[in-house]
Symmetry: C2
């Protein structure tokens, strides 16, 4: 085999579902491996909500959008199959931003070796973007204190499920917002959340009131949508809101407005957004914070694995429909 | 004279203008001054937007509302006319929360002596709540850096005018939002702001764009209203928003919604509310920060003085109409 497949972004989304018209599947020749380079065969790649930002034309975003005609950006994990690099050997497992393609030629920059004896799915689900994001946002913005109450939206998602489990291990009361009864059951009965609210039910305000009798100290926001207003209304004085994702708002041409700021004054709230690229320098510290929880068995995960490179395209829509069950991963 | 006047709050506002029906003017006997007490004749009292919070029934606010039937809460400055207190003498000038009344009996708690050789109006305009609030919010939340751009709403108000002058002295580009051409002229030509926008003009978005070509790093929010959306849209990455007041929203039964949070993520913004009662312990440090600017002549002020205790009642409406010119003070 001397060729491989890659998927280029050729148009930008304008709201609504992601379709094949935004991409082209191309066949490329497997490149020569020059001195100081190595070739990775990618085995699994990660799908993340951040991709909607990378695809959008907004130049104000935290990292530049993917250029039209270029390989779609993504992180993944693979095995080195050829090397002329002194520090990377054939058979080494590496992780990094390799994009939607079967092979990736690297000079080593931005790729890290994976030595943990865990399957690809576990690495991508916990120690990659989701776990780093959860750890960064929860501790630097949420500042959780034992005995407090945290609400996590997108609680069955890759980030939210880790946030909730970290907070639970730290002694908080943890309530998760999810989009199905199956997810509610999973976060309560498998992950140990204290409660779950299906945002599609009729009485979310009542449910939230019953589950947070002491009010809400920390809100980890992954979704947006109407639940945001209900949670915001129950924030306690000096509450902290970490704004991590707004998946319900991204596809809308005119996103819904947010709650009036009067409670931000009255309750002296802090609402703060963050994105991981600002904190890549902190990754060693974040991993040092996260790892003990994982080693103690306090962080469970589940991966939702799609099959084949091209499944990535329509797979992105699972974030909107909420039909994904766990971390979205594409097996190549 | 053995009696004095006081004004009690007897009903809570429900949106719309403040009227006499919310208050009763009562005549009281001047009390005996027991051991450890002293009597203050109040000469000037301050009107502040925070009063709308103190009058409202909301028990979630940062300090308890004024009880119905009690003297309306306010800060003021006066002179001791009788004393049986070892540390306070007849003739001493004192400042503190004395309420809407001509005389105030104190045991000394919460009152501070005023020794600066400045008129009452200057003390209440700069060294009381407005200056403390401006200093707290600007430095602890706004974190201004030389060369950055700050937008201040309510810029001709008692807090906003000090925020803008502090930021100007620190080397920022300072744009103020005001409600009249007269105020625009005052903040630019008297206070040295770099620009002013009358929010009642048609093209506020265009004006804001022209005056903030480098975007906006700090937003000191005193008013709310539609300008909030325009300023929010021009915030730079890592921008800070100090939410101090929302005078345009307070009288509304259903306050307007705020901008969607997507830019909070994309630009990693921090939106933080604050109120001074959380920071009364920091007053010495705040005064130490503020005083050098005042001594260098960098903080100008103007007082809008109403005449007579009862003028306080309808005087509060000047905050809504924006017709006050400078710090609202009642001369008793």
């Amino acid at each position: 085999m001397s060729t491989f497949k890659a998927i280029n972004l050729i148009a930008r989304p304008h709201g609504g579902p992601i379709g094949h018209e935004l991409f082209e599947v191309v066949t490329k020749n497997i490149p020569e491996v020059a001195q100081g380079e190595f070739l990775v065969k990618q085995n699994h790649m990660s799908l993340d909500p951040a991709m909607f930002g990378w695809m959008s034309p907004d130049t104000e975003s935290y990292i530049p959008p993917v250029d039209l005609g270029s390989v779609m950006r993504s992180s993944g994990i693979g095995e080195i199959v050829a090397s002329n690099h002194p520090d990377f050997n054939v058979g080494d497992r590496v992780m990094g931003m390799m994009g939607w393609q079967e092979y990736f030629l690297s000079n080593g920059k931005g790729l890290n070796k994976v030595t943990a004896p865990l399957p690809d799915e576990a690495i991508l689900s916990v120690f990659a973007l989701p776990g780093l994001t959860a750890t960064q946002g929860l501790y630097s913005i949420g500042k959780p204190q034992k005995g407090e109450t945290i609400v996590v939206s997108g609680a069955a998602g890759s980030v939210g499920s880790i946030v909730g489990q970290l907070a639970k291990a730290d002694g908080l009361t943890v309530i998760g917002i999810v989009g199905s009864e199956e997810k509610a059951d999973w976060i309560v009965n498998e992950l140990g959340f204290d409660g779950a609210i299906n945002y599609k039910s009729d009485d979310i305000a009542d449910q939230l009131e019953k589950m947070t009798p002491q009010g809400i100290d920390v809100y980890f926001e992954n979704t947006g949508g109407p639940i945001q207003h209900h949670v915001f209304a129950r924030m306690n004085a000096h509450g902290r809101i970490a704004v991590c994702g707004l998946i319900a708002d991204y596809p809308k041409a005119t996103p819904d407005l947010a709650p009036n700021w009067i409670p931000i004054i009255k309750k002296r709230l802090t609402v703060q957004g963050f994105t991981m690229p600002d904190h890549f320098g902190d990754v060693p510290a974040l991993l040092a914070k996260l790892t003990p929880y994982v080693m103690k068995g306090q962080i469970k995960h589940r991966a939702h694995v799609l099959d084949g490179l091209e499944s990535a395209i329509t797979g992105l829509n699972l974030f909107f429909t909420g039909e994904n069950k766990g971390k979205l991963i594409v097996k190549i």
